[in-house]
């Protein structure tokens, strides 16, 4: 059976099987299996350096030398990277940035910028935006091309609190309206909980995964996030069955 056929049957947009990447004999992340389906939101959570962004880049095909398998079933992809260092030797307005990877009509640009609340910045130079404004422009650019797969790496960083909630609501709406799959990265399960279908908790490997409630209940998740998690979800029991070393590998299993 061809892979195209399989994808249309299963609605799978991207699939990772036991994927990982090694750099200088050190695993950045390993053994990740996950799949993003149409209309579904998959959230990656984990502490800093746990391999969330790396996993997203593996899924996007940015890394070439990987272990395991990654299959993409769509080319219509919108990506909001975590860090973007735009070189200011380039004179670039928001408008120019919007059409970076796709030729869009003016109305499509305006619509996307209106959705994220930054239409007024259209003529502004990209270098003059604040962190939050820039983040909204990044999100607008990613959704404007009506992608089948959206990969959002901490898409609301630097956005004020009320804006953060509104943007997550918008992300959920986009997923419903465009019926696109979303791979979302967040370090805070609490805020994305309501908008997520499936959560993968990473710490150099897949610590645990499942529905948001399952993961929140999971002891490994709580061991990773400690006080913060237990404050939010104090009603759940707490037990961790393995210990992590500083690079995220499993030290021992009890």
């Amino acid at each position: 059976m061809s892979s195209d056929k399989m994808s249309s049957e299963n609605n799978i947009l991207v699939k990772l099987e036991d994927a990982g990447i090694r750099q200088n004999d050190k695993w950045l992340v390993q053994g990740v299996s996950l799949e993003v389906e149409k209309g579904k939101i998959v959230t990656l959570i984990g502490p800093n350096g746990s391999g969330k962004s790396t996993t997203a880049k593996i899924a996007l095909g940015i890394y070439k030398k990987i272990e395991g398998k990654v299959e993409k079933f769509t080319d219509k992809i919108g990506y909001v990277p975590q860090k973007i260092s735009v070189d200011w030797t380039l004179p670039l307005r928001v408008h120019d940035f919007m059409v970076l990877t796709e030729n869009l009509k003016d109305e499509e640009i305006n619509k996307a910028l209106t959705l994220t609340g930054v239409l007024n910045l259209k003529k502004k130079n990209l270098g003059n935006l604040s962190g939050g404004e820039f983040q909204r422009v990044l999100l607008a650019r990613a959704i404007s091309k009506k992608p089948e797969l959206l990969v959002l790496d901490e898409p609301v960083q630097g956005v004020d609190f009320t804006g953060e909630i509104a943007l997550y609501k918008l992300i959920k709406e986009i997923s419903d309206k465009l019926n696109c799959g979303i791979l979302l990265i967040s370090h805070d399960l609490h805020t994305v909980m309501s908008a997520t279908d499936h959560v993968v908790c990473l710490n150099g490997h897949v610590c645990c995964s499942g529905s948001p409630i399952d993961v929140a209940k999971n002891n490994e998740y709580k061991a990773l996030f400690g006080d913060q998690a237990s404050q939010i979800l104090s009603r759940y029991e707490h037990k961790h069955d393995h210990v992590h070393s500083s690079d995220g590998s499993i030290k021992q299993k009890n």
């Binding site: 880049k57 996007l60 095909g61 940015i62 080319d75 992809i77 919108g78 990506y79 990277p81 973007i84 260092s85 735009v86 070189d87 030797t89 380039l90 004179p91 670039l92 307005r93 408008h95 120019d96 940035f97 970076l100 990877t101 796709e102 130079n125 990969v151």
Partner: protein
């Protein structure tokens, strides 16, 4: 029409300026000015090969510069030396080897000054055809790879993630750089080609707020530099390459005045 050497030089120069304008913008955006220098230095080797094998100069330079670019990529992958050291190594060694080979070719009289700084007297009708056809081809290819090249210049990972194949665009752009050096070497001279690439583009950066404007002003700047440079070269009997680049510098200084004005207006 092409009987007069000055008319030939004008046509050649105008053709070159149309191509160096947009390419120069990418050289600035992608920080490739030393890379351009290296390719230009290696062009001398290409010229000597052309003379000794009685080959077309532009073609020979194109091949040599492309080869040097390929060697650079290999060295970057295989050694731990920083990029600028490798560029310096290739630039100066290819220049040195080129000059040594010239020393051996005693049976040919070389106009070294003309090679280094350009010589409008040397532009033939054939050269004009090479510049215009070659230049048109370069611009056409640049237009075709514009989207992936520009997107990856802004952000590589974004371009790669959204399926634009930036690596291919980069490789093609490198070949275009070798090609522009090959077609403009007679006109500007190999020491000053990078100046012709970056100075009009730098001038354009000072006065533009969008990529398209910068490309447009860069072309206009290049054209003006060629016109001013060539006329003063004729008038004062100065070498063509330095005259054109000096004219470009003059325009760059003018563009700085414009910046001063806008800052004043803002305050």
């Amino acid at each position: 029409m092409f009987d007069d050497f000055f008319i030939r030089a004008l046509f050649a120069g105008i053709g070159v300026a149309f191509v160096t304008g947009p390419l120069g913008c990418f050289v600035i955006w992608r920080r490739l000015s030393y890379f351009g220098d290296t390719l230009a230095h290696s062009a001398l080797l290409g010229v000597t090969i052309a003379y000794s094998l009685e080959f077309n100069i532009a073609f020979s330079v194109f091949i040599t510069s492309s080869l040097i670019a390929l060697i650079l990529v290999q060295l970057q992958n295989k050694t731990n030396l920083p990029g600028d050291a490798l560029l310096g190594l290739l630039a100066h060694s290819s220049l040195a080897v080129g000059l040594v080979v010239i020393g051996f070719l005693t049976f040919i009289r070389f106009d070294i000054m003309g090679l280094l700084f350009g010589d409008i007297l040397a532009v033939t009708v054939n050269d004009i055809y090479i510049i215009w056809f070659g230049g048109a081809l370069i611009l056409l290819i640049l237009k075709l790879i514009w989207k992936p090249l520009f997107a990856s210049t802004v952000n590589y990972e974004l371009a790669e993630a959204e399926g634009l194949n930036p690596d291919r665009a980069k490789a093609i752009f490198t070949i275009l750089m070798a090609a522009i050096i090959a077609i403009s070497i007679k006109m500007v001279g190999l020491l000053l080609i990078t100046g012709m690439l970056i100075i009009p583009a730098a001038m354009a950066r000072n006065i533009s707020d969008s990529p398209l404007k910068m490309v447009t002003y860069s072309i206009i700047g290049g054209l003006l530099s060629v016109l001013i440079g060539l006329f003063s070269s004729l008038e004062f009997n100065t070498p063509s390459g330095p005259s054109i680049v000096a004219a470009a510098l003059f325009l760059f200084i003018l563009s700085l005045l414009k910046i001063k004005q806008t800052i004043k207006l803002k305050n």
